[in-house]
Amino acid sequence: MPIILVIAFFQIAVLQQPLPNILDLLIGTFFVVLGLTFFIYGLEMGLFPIGESMAYDFAKKGSVVWLLLFSFALGFGTTIAEPALIAVSAEASKVAATAGAITNTTVAMKEYADGLRLTVALSVGFAIVLGVFRILKGWPIHWFIIGGYILVVIITGFAPEEIIGIAYDSGGVTTSTITVPLVTALGVGLASSIKGRNPMIDGFGLIAFASLTPMIFVMIYGMAI
């Protein structure tokens, strides 16, 4: 864990202050490491084999409607379960509550956090569908990305100021432990099962879509509430 080293170095050499509650922090660190180990072990044992084999099955089956439906479900489901997103959306709801953007009750905070997560999950589902469609058609990726950037810029002009930071962040947050391997499996499986597609050029890029659309959707969500 290089993180621990960096923090310890700064704490000791630069700040020269002892950490308060060192026991609590140590237990917490232990929990994080233990939790991640279990989590990844479980993923590799249970979810990844099914996810990957399904991604390949759907890619080879040829029914476009089912493939797109499955892509949406995969993007949505993996994002809902993403641990980093759970943590950050909870934190965002706390900040919003203290700043007075929403009422400071547990119910309102939970609603805000869940709304955020649902929005992001919907947008990732949409992104994967769009990305799969792109792979099927073989369109070059950068037109989509540039178009997406332009959309982000336009919507930023209309979105309320307090949602912009959260929206920009949500793009990077969504794509971690669960989403990346499953989605990459779908993309590469798809690109290698279609003739004339290079898995390297066409298989990648789903993640880029999945980190772009949440920005747009979350800003729209911020405008709606």
Binding site: F10, I27, D169, I178
Partner: protein, 303 residues
């Protein structure tokens, strides 16, 4: 001893609460996978027992992780932000009452942000996997270490620039829009095969541990720096961390391509002094490590 038991029970309580939330969180993905498997593909799930055990581990792991996060990473991120921006730390104790803040005074914050961004990214396993793939595809033109360094530098610069933005309070969208413009321009000049990979590398590198820590650092900074609001200024670090690797990876690919072209041309002309002048350049460049590798590659290719 009694106090310890009380604390222990509190832990268990909290854990069970988080576990029940986690089950809510993870059920949808289970429903989706099982539903599609049974009703659309119509195949039995292979190794049901294994999958179920795996799923159980996922649940337990996620619950532990979230509890540890709440207890460690969030508090640490905020604490570090608070301590690094503490006036008595910046000015020394005797001047602690003097409140004239300049953005330069927070230089330790930028250094810390850079260190965190660089160290976590360089150790990121998924990045290593991507780098190995990229090397295969590019036929050695893009070195594993070079790519990892490029991405890690991108993340590190991104996060430090993000903390600079929080300290100064400039609106985030100007930075991001400007970044987009650079990315778009680069896209047209970068080698074609690197483009999707570069776009992806932005999302891939921000891992599960880095994200909460960096988010907490940003929020803590916005809370402690005078005149900043956590809601408006506190977020955005992760956005920076996922934008800058896109640029640095494309820039790296461009440099790598340019260098290998140049090296080929030089060997074709067979000038005696080229070895020297090339090694001079590598000193001033940002990615010195993959350099010798590439040279030997192109040498053997020419002969």
């Amino acid at each position: 001893m009694g106090a310890f038991i009380v604390e222990f029970v509190a832990y268990i309580d909290r854990f069970i609460e988080i576990l029940s939330h986690t089950i809510d969180d993870v059920i949808p993905i289970l429903v989706i996978l099982v539903g599609f498997q049974l009703f659309v593909i119509r195949k039995k799930i292979p190794n049901v027992k294994r999958v179920a055990t795996g799923f159980f581990f996922v649940l337990i792991g996620l619950a532990f992780f979230l509890q540890g996060l709440e207890q460690t990473l969030f508090p640490i991120g905020r604490l570090m932000a608070a301590q690094l921006t503490d006036p008595s730390f910046i000015f020394g104790h005797e001047m602690a009452s003097n409140f004239t803040f300049n953005w330069q005074d927070y230089y330790w914050v930028y250094i810390f942000a850079f260190a965190i961004g660089f160290s976590t990214t360089i150790a990121e396993p998924s990045l290593l996997a991507v780098a190995i793939k990229a090397k295969e595809v590019s036929g050695g033109a893009i070195g594993t270490w070079g790519l990892r360094l490029a991405v890690a530098l991108g993340v590190a610069i991104g996060i430090s620039l993000g903390t600079f933005r929080i300290v100064t309070g400039y609106p985030i969208h100007w930075f991001i829009i400007f970044g987009y413009i650079i990315v778009v321009i680069q896209t047209f000049y970068a080698p074609k095969m690197i483009v999707p990979l570069a776009y992806d590398s932005g999302g891939v590198t921000t891992s599960t541990v880095t994200v909460p820590l960096v988010a907490a650092l940003g929020l803590g900074l916005a809370e402690t720096v005078p005149g900043r609001s956590a809601l408006i200024d506190g977020f955005g670090l992760i956005a920076f961390a996922s934008l800058f690797p896109i640029m640095s990876v494309m820039a790296y690919a461009q440099i790598a391509e340019y260098r290998s072209l140049k090296a080929q041309r030089r060997y074709a002309q067979n000038r005696p002094d080229d070895q020297e002048s090339v090694s001079d350049e590598s000193d001033s460049s940002t990615n010195p490590i993959p350099k010798p590798q590439k040279q030997t590659n192109s040498t053997s290719g020419e002969k």
